[in-house]
């Protein structure tokens, strides 16, 4: 066991997989000599050499197109987007090519796209996006969203070994704020399985990524202050969703709050809400509530950013309202 930060765990996951499997390589803007915009691939170039750590031109379409092509011929590329915001420039390569190739030609596309996501970092509207909903809709893509260093490494390794294109959301806010125990051994976290972070029987709280820790803190505070026990579920994977854990938790509690950093409309929370309405209606003791960012770009000014994004206080408010329903 070693204590490491979230970004160190991401780095460690890639490193181990590249060590283990010669077909794994990284490509992206400044991933080589510079070590990546957030230093996730620092030292990779020196260790693995420039054939496996490739600095690319400033073109996300080129990065993702090249990655998809490499995957088709048996490689396992890890493509880094400097910020998740810029993935839109390579949108077509992902949703029309990578996502559909297996359907059309039965050829696997084992590709990982690293997406440094989200706000809380005063990055403004072009460096704070939560991109998951754009891809959540697309058949053929998997999406993972770790919230702990342990999951960051385990899901990275699982994503690299998966034969489908996997979008790997990594939360810039968590990079150096979150530390945790990470085994040095080889392990994977299964894609499609959520984790119960806190047991509770009053409200089920579903979250992922950057907002899991807020949710956990909020649940702990409310338990102390009002004796309301919320079960906190970290979804970890968005595509596929751990539907059985979701439905089981609804049945156990009867009340649901979904929290995500991505904005509300058309977000992952809406799909979870629909799933619950469809398959757990008879277990509902209150309307399903969602807490998400406001439907606006993420503002640059810190007070405005705070106003727009979910936080612990807002989660407590939502939980309290639900508990009183």
């Amino acid at each position: 066991m070693a204590t490491m930060t979230y970004i160190e765990a991401i780095s460690r996951g890639m490193w181990e997989e590249m060590d283990r499997d010669a077909s794994v390589f990284v490509l992206g803007e400044d991933v080589g000599a510079y070590g990546g915009a957030f230093k996730a691939t620092k030292g990779f170039l020196q260790h693995f050499g420039e054939e496996r750590v490739i600095d690319t031109p400033l073109s996300e379409a080129a990065i993702l197109g090249a990655a998809a092509g490499a995957a088709l011929v048996g490689m396992r590329p890890i493509a880094e987007m400097q910020f998740a915001d810029f993935v839109t420039c390579g949108f077509n390569q992902l949703v029309s090519n990578a996502a559909k190739i297996h359907y059309r030609w039965r050829l696997p596309v084992p590709l990982v796209v690293r997406l440094p996501s989200g706000g809380y970092i005063h990055g403004g509207p072009y460096h704070s996006v939560s991109p998951e909903a754009w891809f959540f809709h697309v058949p053929g893509l998997k999406i993972v969203a770790p919230s702990t260093p342990y999951d960051a490494k385990g899901l990275m390794k699982a994503a690299i070994r998966d034969n489908n294109p996997v979008l790997y959301l990594e939360f810039k806010y968590l990079y150096r704020r979150v530390k945790g125990e990470v085994p040095e051994s080889d392990y994977v976290v299964e894609i499609g399985k959520g984790a119960v972070r806190r047991e509770g029987t009053d409200i089920a709280l579903f979250s992922y990524g950057s907002t899991v820790q807020f949710a956990l803190n909020a649940a702990n505070q409310l338990a102390v202050e009002e004796g309301v026990e919320a079960k906190v579920v970290d979804l970890r994977s968005l595509q596929p969703l751990d539907t059985s854990l979701i439905l089981e938790s609804v049945a156990e509690t009867g009340k649901v709050l979904i929290v995500h950093e991505d904005n509300l409309t058309g977000g992952v929370g809406g799909e979870i809400t629909a799933l619950i309405a469809d398959q757990a209606f008879e277990f509902l003791d209150a309307p399903v509530r969602r807490l998400a960012a406001l439907d606006v770009p993420v503002p640059f000014a810190p007070p405005l950013e705070e106003y727009v994004l979910p936080d612990q206080t807002k989660i407590i408010g939502a939980l309290r309202e639900l508990s009183r329903f």
Partner: protein
């Protein structure tokens, strides 16, 4: 064929529901328009409700002791008697005509299983409904379960607690329509009905403990008080008032006044007059708050808090700004008499813009009253007692009282509160002692 709905009346602007205490008529009884049809209880008042029409009471959809929202249908009167007779005859058979064409028939036809219908309008969550179904709880039974959720909704916890109590052989008193709480006039405060709840009995054994189901009026009082304290940051200012001149004036004129008016002269009209004059000077006292808006009223409806055997009641003197001293005295007496006899109408207890609470009658010297929402201030008047006071730099024995103004610091501050209360005091101390009746 005319089927008239009987609905739960709105007994006040802030009242959202009412409880049926007693049906004076049975299904099948003839009723005349305006004849007393039932008695209801709301958070403010118990009232006799007249029939909305003449005809035959064909259906009662809400039983006694049940609480329903205002405007909910609680029964039907058939005003066309031949149709009513026909409907009764066909009630056992399925309606022959299409349902849309024969509403009266279908309504009467469902009269028997009506107890299975949801009548309160209370929302039940899918979970509560599925638990009820799985545990064989009928809708009637469900309607009687006490809800602790928003708008008294039955939560998962409530129904699980109910199930546990039911399994333990307990039966909530509210589930039993037969245990009508007695509301006879007694000298003691009717705070609630004795009930037997086994799990509470275990904790609080008889005869050392008595368990009472809080009365409707009491429950609502509790709600209103908590709500008011939560809504308004209360500040209390206490001023001392020299009532000597008024005490003397009242003594001198009491006999003549009673001869003229037929009722006793009290201190209340003196205080009411002083307050109304002060409100005219500081009209912001006579406001309410909605969001970030102040609603300032040009009329003054003065509420007078009165203790009754059923709890606190606040009858209101309407348009006090238009009345003079004798007008106040008559209005006060009229309300007092009707409150005592429980003959007041809903209008008598709603629409207040400022309230006076005279807890001095119980000997209280200084109180800090709670504002009656959505008003922003309340005046509490303490007992008038003879005290040593300094008058013109000499020690004198004077009839003194402490008056407290509790006000809402969202819109009123200590300066305005103090100036208003000081004006009330000056109005009383400078009362025109030449006034004759």
């Amino acid at each position: 064929m005319a089927n008239v709905e009987i609905v739960m009346p709105q007994m006040g602007e802030s009242i959202t529901e009412g409880t049926i205490l007693k049906w004076h008529k049975k299904v099948g009884d003839q009723v005349k328009k305006d004849e007393v049809l039932l008695e209801i209880s709301t958070d403010k008042v118990d009232s006799e409700i007249p029939s909305p029409a003449s005809g035959l009471l064909v259906q009662i959809t809400v039983e006694e002791q049940k609480t329903v929202p205002v405007r909910a249908v609680i029964g039907y009167i058939e005003t066309d008697l031949s149709a009513a007779a026909g409907a009764e005859q066909t009630s056992a058979a399925p309606a022959s005509a299409t349902v849309t064409e024969a509403p009266a028939v279908t309504r009467v036809a469902t009269a028997a299983p009506a107890s299975e219908k949801r009548v309160s309008g209370r929302f039940y969550s899918p979970l509560v409904m599925s638990i009820a179904q799985a545990e064989g709880i009928s809708m009637t039974e469900l309607e009687a379960v006490t809800g602790t959720g928003a708008n008294e909704r039955v939560t998962k916890k409530d129904i699980l607690a109910y199930l546990e109590a039911r399994k333990a052989g307990a039966s909530r008193p509210v589930a039993e329509p037969s245990t009508t709480p007695t509301r006879t006039s007694t000298s003691t405060l009717n705070i609630g009905t004795p009930v037997e709840i086994p799990e509470l009995r275990k904790k609080y054994p008889a005869p050392a403990h008595e368990v009472l189901q809080m009365s409707n009026v009491l429950q609502k009082m509790a709600q209103h008080m908590v709500n008011s304290v939560r809504t308004s940051p209360h500040v209390a200012a206490v001023h001392e008032v020299d009532m000597t001149a008024i005490v003397r004036h009242r003594l001198e004129h009491a006999a003549q006044f009673e001869k003229n008016e037929g009722f006793k002269l009290t201190f209340t009209p003196y205080i009411v007059e002083a307050v109304v004059k002060a409100i005219k000077k500081y009209p912001l006292i006579n406001s309410s708050v909605e969001g970030d808006m102040i609603i300032r009223k040009t009329y003054i409806n003065l509420g007078l808090a009165v203790a009754s055997e059923n709890g606190l009641i606040v009858p209101v003197i309407k348009h006090a700004e238009e009345k003079g001293f004798v007008g106040f005295a008559r209005a006060v007496n009229d309300l007092a008499v009707r409150t005592r006899n429980r003959k007041f109408s809903p209008e008598d207890i709603q629409g207040g813009t400022f309230t006076i609470s005279n807890y001095g009658v119980f000997g209280t010297l200084i109180g800090t009253p709670i504002i009656s929402q959505p008003q922003v201030a309340i005046l509490g008047t303490g007992a008038i007692t003879k005290r040593v006071a300094v008058l013109n730099d000499a020690i004198a024995i004077r009839s003194m009282a402490f008056f407290t103004l509790s006000f809402d610091h969202r819109i009123l501050d200590g300066a305005l509160g103090g100036m208003f209360l000081d004006t009330v005091v000056k109005n009383l101390e400078n009362f025109d002692t030449n006034m004759k009746f």
